[in-house]
Chain length 476, copies 2
């Protein structure tokens, strides 16, 4: 796999770019303003997409009675070992321990049981932006932390068909969001039974290939069937005057997306943040402010013009660091556009215009054109990033003919490997044990630009006669 | 005190208007979409105000090592008794218990100690939107809950002067926000030493008189001096190359503001939500949809026009409930403007236009004028609400001449009572013990339209010769 090597490790990038820092509690992080601004943009663009689907935001409590988890057998098995538990409150031991939500199906369905009385109350389409807690053993900043931020949607429907459609609708919302807003060419597909959400009938995910050759699950959408309706006793009067139980879905993405951005778009200089979610879309650097007051005036005029156009712009007026230091800083931080404005530029009525994604190409641009050029350039940069990540992903998707070829190539290059699989848990486990790769998802290959798998003669650990196209990768 | 009586209790209003519901854990609430939309609007308008002050959002962890609380003597005394404590994680007992943040001074200052190295790093102006946890004995939905949502700002400055100014700047931000965005004529002022935040040198608050005659602390701004800098050992290289400790502030408002809105603006029909923070600013009710398809078409055209103008509009197309039922529902919910559109309206090219705050006055309005009228009407309603709440507040602020008169009037009418106080903790305590009223704050009376206190001859429990103007009320 070809990739531009950054001299910093992932963790160094996160810290040096000012995205986040380690918190004093093991496995927790502090999201600093530059990183949090990305999360706020993610919230904005996703909220707009959710709204189109008729989804409303709400807020459910963090603390869940431990007994709630126990109602759904798979759910408690999946989540209980990861729980943080409150045993004392107000100086006294509690009668029943409370867990910090690892996910909110239980508490939300307890409420739905109260709210959903008639088919007229359906569908219920709610989402919450919240912090959740999972006691992870091995943590990695943004990618796997003990506390993280996410959104979790929870819906209830009259029919199995509607719930099934909603599951796919939300998967597609995530697909479009990742591609259009984050510039990440994700591959959507169903998860194998082994990788299903604890309590779901079906789990679908969007998978992203990172520049280090690993895969990342960037979002999931679950069809819960009636599993939670049953155990939380949600019943409604149906159209035939009988009592029915709703069919449900849940779906979520988290602050791990910021990790996906970092590892999806970096180059040797640092981050490349996609304009749609960048906290700073354009930075203006007036150079030699003390030489001529007109420099700062012009910079601030451009700043106001861009602000009026809705561009998230920052004018960096610090004089105690050199222009070169600032160039490095904003390249590391991945700000999409940099506008330099020094004495010589000003004398020519121009600025120096530099795109983060093509640093070599400095343009001289008349000051009067800046307000015209910036919004268009941001759009172009956005779609170029997606094109670049798409090429990267498809170029690094392999179609090994044999298990041996797969293992060799995986070890040497990482990447995605699209192969026929025999549909057995056991063979999935054996692949994982011998290669550390897992099945990321079972995509509709042609729809996403993938070729036909090539291992017809050597279906992965064939034992059933089935041959299911599956996307393998090592992952975070 | 004159007040329009609502037939519902406060709790019934909250539940019936669909703002929130009780959660299964004692003292916790679920904020439902209609209530959460108000919170989202509050976040938007406050974020815009914070941004003007150069404040940036970030995110700090929820879990705080218990030992952190103990570092500041007053802080631990104030908050320890209210803490929820995590003792187990991942199936094991923790070496050190973790508390769920009751407020974040400790964890944030632990980070500031790492980040602040030089005067060039100052000021640090950060805010976070977060959930916090306080183990309250007596809870009341929105007003006092075990978990609530808030924003907490934390700043660090080079000089005492700057911190002092920041404390007042943020108090003024809250004052303007409450008045201009929430339509609540709050009275700002310093708190007495007895009511100070645990660990602060000065606490200021904005106090609101509710329609039931009680006061409510709607926001606070604290000057922390160097109290936390010292115990978290925050040191920076100052301009003279020496080492100094920063001066700090913190300030916050919470979901209790939604309680303030409900109790500040209600009338006999239900809520009156101020347009700037209303989740639905205008509801369109097409009536008799089945009679003529043109009715729904016209309603949807108006909906799109208003959406394009940025108005938060909802077109209620339900046919299984009567128009009368909908009128009641949106009056109860306090939607600022209702547009009715039936066959007769349409035949005349008109809609029926009704403001929530003046329900009797139904206007017939040409359809073509709706898009012109709505934004202006929303502005008018917004400022009328403030005027109304200001009159209500000033009319219900009393200037008793004697302690006896104060007690009698307080008991009979509630309201605010502006009186000279002798500045002693002991007299404050005695007033509270005998009347249940407390000093809400020590305002600059004339600046906020208050008269001179009248109890010169009977300064409240005079013992010191001091006479400090103080605002007394019973409160939540």
């Amino acid at each position: 796999m070809k990739q531009e090597k950054n001299t910093r490790t992932y963790e160094e990038l996160v810290l040096d770019a000012g995205l986040a820092d380690y918190a004093p509690v093991r496995g927790c992080m502090v999201i600093k303003p530059y990183g949090y601004a990305i999360w706020e943009s993610i919230q904005d663009v996703l909220n707009a997409r959710f709204k189109k689907e008729g989804i409303q935001n709400a807020c459910f409590p963090t603390l869940i009675p431990e007994s709630f988890l126990h109602r759904e057998k798979d759910h408690v098995e999946g989540f209980q070992p990861q729980c943080a538990v409150v045993t004392h409150g107000g100086g006294k031991e509690l009668e029943e321990p409370l867990v910090l939500r690892p996910t909110s199906e239980t508490i939300i369905n307890e409420m739905y049981a109260k709210w959903i009385q008639s088919y007229r109350d359906l569908p219920v389409l709610m989402n919450q932006w919240a912090n959740v807690f999972r006691w992870e053993m091995r943590t990695k900043i943004f990618l796997r932390t003990m506390e993280f931020l996410w959104q979790e949607g929870h819906t209830a429907h009259e029919t199995a068909q509607e719930a099934s459609e909603m599951t796919i609708t939300m998967l597609n919302v995530y697909r479009d969001f990742l591609r259009e807003d984050l510039g990440l060419y994700c591959i959507p597909g169903e998860k194998t039974p082994r990788e299903r959400f604890a309590g779901a009938e079906e789990t679908h995910s969007v998978e992203v290939l990172l520049r280090d050759g690993k895969g990342l699950q960037a979002g999931t959408s679950h069809n819960l069937g009636q599993n939670f309706s049953k155990v939380f006793n949600i019943q409604f009067q149906d159209r035939e005057q009988g009592m029915s139980m709703p069919y449900q879905t849940s779906w979520g993405v988290s602050t791990r997306l910021i990790g996906a951005l970092i590892l999806g778009h970096q180059d040797e200089k640092g981050l490349i943040v996609p304009p749609r979610v960048a906290g700073i879309q354009t930075v203006i650097l007036p150079i030699g402010i003390h030489k001529d007051p007109a420099i700062l005036e012009a910079a601030e005029r451009i700043e106001r013009q861009l602000q009026d156009l809705g561009v998230r712009v920052h004018c960096d007026k610090r004089e105690h660091v050199t222009p070169g230091w600032k160039f490095n800083e904003y390249e590391l931080k991945g700000v999409p556009i940099r506008i330099e404005l020094g004495k010589r530029d000003l004398d020519q009525g121009c600025v120096t215009f530099v795109r983060r994604s093509t640093l070599g190409q400095k343009e001289s641009l008349p000051i009067d054109h800046v307000a015209d050029v910036v919004p268009k350039a941001l759009e172009e940069i956005q779609s170029n990033l997606l094109e670049s990540h798409k090429s990267f992903t498809l170029e690094n998707t392999h179609y090994p003919k044999t298990l041996g070829e797969f293992k060799e190539r995986l070890e040497a290059e990482g990447g995605l490997h699209y192969m026929y699989w025999d549909g057995q848990d056991a063979s999935e486990e054996e692949i994982q044990a011998t290669t550390k790769a897992t099945i990321r998802c079972l995509p509709n290959g042609p729809e996403h630009g993938l070729n036909e798998p090539q291992n017809k003669e050597d279906v992965i650990l064939t034992s059933t006669g089935k041959s299911i196209p599956a996307l393998f990768a090592k992952s975070y």
